[in-house]
Structure formats: structure tokens, C-alpha cells
């Protein structure tokens, strides 16, 4: 529970530092401020994981058009990926 409270404290303060003029009631904070911080944390985590997978050679990173980046599997590493999945089952 304390870890969860620490996370909420962090999220509320981080939101207010990013948006110093923000004001809302408890309902709005639960529904939107924490949601925004959660999305940001998850997005950063996914981005970091993707970068790691690219470094490991498990996936490729490719730019399409002018700006978008897409990710896809490196088929040559399929066997190593299967091994990795067997060894690393999330709890």
C-alpha cells in the first residue's frame, strides 16, 4: 500500500509541475490526472523496452514515411526469441 501511495503522490505532483495552472476536484484528479501520468509512465516503459529489444536484435526498427517508426520481428532470431519466452515467463 505505501508503494501505491508513493506512486500516487509522485503522479499528482508530477502532473502539477507539468501543468502549474491545473485545478480540479478529487474526481477529476482520479479520472484524468492520474490517467495521464499512468499513460506517460507506460509509454516510457514500452519505449525503453522496445529500444532494448532492438539492441538485442530481437526486433527491427524502421521508419515509414517522414516521421512514423514501426517495429517488427527479426525472423532470423525467431528461435532465440522462443527460447527467451520459455525462460522468461512473467509472474
Amino acid at each position: 500500500m505505501p508503494a501505491e501511495k508513493d506512486e500516487i503522490t509522485h503522479d499528482i505532483l508530477a502532473y502539477l509541475v507539468e501543468h502549474p495552472e491545473a485545478q480540479d476536484t478529487l474526481e477529476g484528479i482520479v479520472e484524468w490526472w492520474l490517467l495521464e501520468q499512468n499513460i506517460k509512465r507506460q509509454t516510457a516503459l514500452v519505449k525503453e523496452t522496445l529500444e532494448e529489444l532492438v539492441r538485442n536484435g530481437f526486433i527491427f526498427e524502421r521508419r515509414i514515411g517522414n516521421s512514423e517508426t514501426v517495429y517488427q520481428i527479426n525472423e532470423k532470431k525467431l528461435e532465440s526469441i522462443r527460447e527467451f519466452l520459455k525462460e522468461n515467463v512473467p509472474e
Binding site: H19, E21, A22, Q23, G28, S67
Partner: protein
């Protein structure tokens, strides 16, 4: 100082709106607007014209203002063609009068960034432009799109009557027009107002919800607009007021129908000019606030009774959002019930995962005058008192008059409806069985049999004989 290129395509130069707009843009001290005015006479080029494409490509503006009559914007194909084929980096703002709310929603769906109705005021135009010109980075765009997807899932429901309204939210969030949300108590008006705010360019600024019904009549003006120190006996300190509190953001005025008439006049003036005076002050204050109003009253009736100003209603009701009552979206009841079960069971530390079919049936049969809020309370109470892993119909406690009596069979219920129907029919035809039978295309003998079956006293419906 920031720089921006603005283009104005004026389809009605005689209106003078283009010149007023030019004056407003030139008055900005924060942004240097490079301004291109293209006057397009009625017999001149249209939105389809190649000549127009060349002009836009050459100027490459950040923002294009399209000034026209409602007629020009009643051609969605032309607007779509214009946006998709000609306009690469520009945001489009339409200035027009007399456009129907559903047409505004259609234009926003096509990609128009904002919509403005004359008269034009610098206090309104410039903040809108600045917000649009704050270009979003790709990270921010991703955040916005995820916020839209995940945030709107908090507004639970799948029935067509409901989703038709909710689908408007992302569109109306991105423009700056006033919104009127109507719906019975507990239908989710504040939830929708908040979604509009947090999906708009005003997210990150204040969202101030106010229940106008909770403000004492004599304090309404003071609450909204504030006062100067010494404005009245006891005003030992100045007070900013809620409009100032919401500056840059959104002010949600719930139960707007309860706002007293003097405060309505002042609010109308603020909506028109974006300026107001605090009580006891001669100084004009400015505030950039989006107003979202809501009401559970029939405001048209309030207008006819002189309790609500018609001009304020039309200013607020530019885009209406009508939330249906829960009894009109009964298919959403099981979805909402499971949503509240998942939400509240963990709060009360209970391992409950489902409802019995009888429990769902009981929820579906009820009329829900308090709507979603009432449903949430009923589920919460059921969770607290439930002693089993699944919520039973006995756990669902509903007000006695509305709950279906468990000992009443379908046959009995049908008979009751039939008896009621025949009594109303006899009342209409003053006890004349032949006429009543003819009206419902039934044999008089069959109707007499039904009257006997239900032991109805026909004499009761006949006029008294002298």
C-alpha cells in the same frame, strides 16, 4: 515575439468581417501575424478551384480562416476536398452565422479546427489562435490519442442512443464553442464535461465545476464574478470569483437553470465580450474561459415562464449534448452493473465476480429515476451485504414501489395491463361498447367477454341519465 502566417479566405467581403478580423490580428502584441487576405466574390472561385490551391501552396499558412455564409459550409464534400487535397499544414477556422449544431459537428468531424460565430472579439479570437499555434510534438500527439481512447472508456455504455452523443465529445473538445449538456440527474453530465475539458487544448488548465443550484440566489453574481474590497458591507477582502479562477480553462456550470436572472444577464455579457466587472468595481476584467453548461430542467419551459433568458440559452446551446436516461438505455444496465461491481468490489476488499441472472433481471426491470448514480449506489450496497461469491437478486435492494413483486406472474401482469387498457377505452367512449369495439377493430361480443372477464362495471363510464 512569435510569428505566424494567417490566411483569410473571405467569401462574403461585403460583410466586413474580414476587415474586423484583420484589425484584431494586427492588435496582437504577443504574436506577429503575417496576414494574407483573399477576397472571393460570389461569382469568383470556389473551394474546388485550382487557383485557390495555388494561392494556398504559395502562402503555406499556419491557420486559414474561412469566412462564409452558412450555405458555403453546407457542402461537406467541398470542405473535405479542400482539407484533404489543398491544406497540408494549416489549421482551419470557420467563421459563419446560422449554422445548425449538427452541421458544426459534421465540419469538426471533417477536420475543421474551430468554429466562430460573429461578432468577433479580440478577447475571444486571439486566445483561440494562440492555442492552435502551440504545435504539438509527436509525443504529445500520442499522449492525446491514448488519453482519448482510454479516457473515454470511463464513460461506460454501448447503447446507440448513448454512444451517438459520446462520439461527439472528441470533436467538440477540440473546438472552443459553448456546450449545453442536458440530461436527468445522475446521467453523467459532469463526467462528459470533464472529458471535453481534458481532451481539449485547455487540458492542463483549471476545470472548475460549479453547481448553480447550490449557490444562494443573492450570492450568485458574487460567486461567479467576484468583488472588490469594500464592495458591500462585510467585503473586507477582494474575491476573484469563479470566472477568474477558471481563466485559461473550463467553467462547468451545472444546473444552469437555477442561476438567477441578474447573474444570467452578466454571464451573457461575458460570453459575448469575454469581459466582466467585479461587484463594486468599474474596471473591466478579461478572462479566457470555456463555458460548459448543464441542466436537468426543461430550459425551454423555463424560458416560456420567463425564468431563463432566451438569448443566454442560444449562446450556450451552440452544440447540445443530450444524455439519455438509464431507462432509455436498458441494454447498458448489465454492462454498468459489472463495471461498478469490478470497481467497488476491490474497494470493499470483496471477491465478487458476477450477478445471478435473477439479479440482472431485477436490475433491468427497475425504472432508475436516479439513473447511473442510483445504480452505482444499489450495486455498492449489494456488494457490502452480499454473503456469497455471486450477487443474488435478494442482495439488490430497490425502492418498494418500483421493484417487481416476485410473487406476481407474467400472466397476472398481462391481465392487469389488459384491464387497465379496456377501462381507459371505455372512459374515452363513455361506456359505449359498440363504439369502443369499433375503435380497436374488435368484435363487440369479444369486448363484452373481456369486460366480463375483468369484472369491469361499464355503468361507471356512462354519463349519468337524468
Amino acid at each position: 515575439m512569435k510569428h505566424a502566417t494567417i490566411m483569410l479566405l473571405d467569401f462574403i467581403p461585403v460583410s466586413g468581417i474580414g476587415s474586423i478580423l484583420q484589425g484584431i490580428l494586427n492588435s496582437s502584441s504577443f504574436t506577429d501575424f503575417q496576414f494574407y487576405l483573399e477576397k472571393i466574390e460570389a461569382c469568383g472561385i470556389s473551394l474546388y478551384d485550382k487557383k485557390l490551391q495555388d494561392i494556398i501552396s504559395h502562402v503555406n499558412p499556419h491557420v486559414i480562416f474561412l469566412i462564409g455564409s452558412s450555405l458555403q459550409f453546407k457542402q461537406p464534400d467541398a470542405i473535405m476536398h479542400f482539407i484533404n487535397d489543398y491544406v497540408k499544414r494549416s489549421q482551419i477556422i470557420i467563421i459563419a452565422e446560422e449554422i445548425e449544431p449538427h452541421e458544426i459537428v459534421e465540419l469538426l468531424k471533417l477536420g475543421v479546427a474551430d468554429f466562430i460565430t460573429p461578432p468577433l472579439k479580440s478577447t475571444d479570437i486571439l486566445p483561440r489562435l494562440w492555442r492552435l499555434l502551440e504545435r504539438k510534438h509527436s509525443n504529445e500527439l500520442l499522449l492525446h490519442s491514448l488519453k482519448e481512447k482510454i479516457g473515454l472508456k470511463q464513460i461506460v455504455g454501448e447503447s446507440p442512443a448513448f454512444t451517438k452523443e459520446i462520439e461527439k465529445i472528441p470533436m467538440i473538445a477540440k473546438c472552443n464553442v459553448s456546450i449545453m449538456i442536458s440530461g436527468e440527474t445522475g446521467t453523467g453530465k459532469e463526467l462528459c464535461a470533464r472529458a471535453i475539458h481534458y481532451l481539449s487544448l485547455r487540458a492542463g488548465k483549471p476545470f472548475i465545476p460549479v453547481n448553480c443550484g447550490a449557490i444562494p440566489t443573492e450570492l450568485a453574481e458574487n460567486e461567479l464574478f467576484g468583488h472588490e474590497k469594500g464592495a458591500f458591507t462585510g467585503a473586507s477582502q477582494s474575491y476573484n470569483g469563479l470566472i477568474k479562477e477558471a481563466d485559461g480553462g473550463t467553467l462547468f456550470l451545472d444546473e444552469i437553470g437555477c442561476l438567477p436572472l441578474p447573474a444570467q444577464v452578466k454571464l451573457l455579457r461575458f460570453l459575448q465580450d469575454k469581459e466582466y466587472r467585479q461587484l463594486g468595481s468599474t474596471k473591466l476584467h478579461q478572462a479566457d474561459v470555456r463555458i460548459i453548461a448543464a441542466s436537468n430542467l426543461d430550459l425551454e419551459k423555463s424560458m416560456s415562464e420567463g425564468k431563463f433568458r432566451q438569448d443566454l440559452f442560444y449562446r450556450l446551446n451552440i452544440i447540445p449534448l443530450v444524455l439519455p436516461p438509464l431507462r432509455d438505455r436498458k441494454t447498458d444496465i448489465p454492462i454498468l452493473a459489472h463495471h461498478f461491481l469490478a470497481k467497488c468490489a476491490s474497494e470493499f476488499n470483496k471477491k465478487l465476480s458476477d450477478f445471478t441472472p435473477d439479479a440482472i433481471q431485477k436490475l433491468m426491470a427497475y425504472n432508475w429515476p436516479g439513473n447511473i448514480r442510483e445504480l452505482e449506489n444499489v450495486i455498492e450496497r449489494a456488494i457490502v451485504f452480499s454473503k456469497q461469491a455471486i450477487i443474488q437478486d435478494a442482495d439488490i435492494v430497490l425502492p418498494r414501489s418500483e421493484a417487481i413483486k416476485s410473487n406476481e406472474s407474467l400472466k397476472d401482469a398481462k391481465a392487469k395491463i389488459e384491464k387497465d387498457y379496456i377501462q381507459k377505452l371505455l372512459c374515452t367512449y363513455r361506456g359505449n361498447i359498440s363504439k369502443a369495439a369499433e375503435a380497436i377493430d374488435k368484435n363487440p361480443r369479444a369486448l363484452r367477454a373481456l369486460i366480463r372477464k375483468h369484472e369491469i362495471d361499464v355503468q361507471k363510464f356512462r354519463p349519468m341519465s337524468r
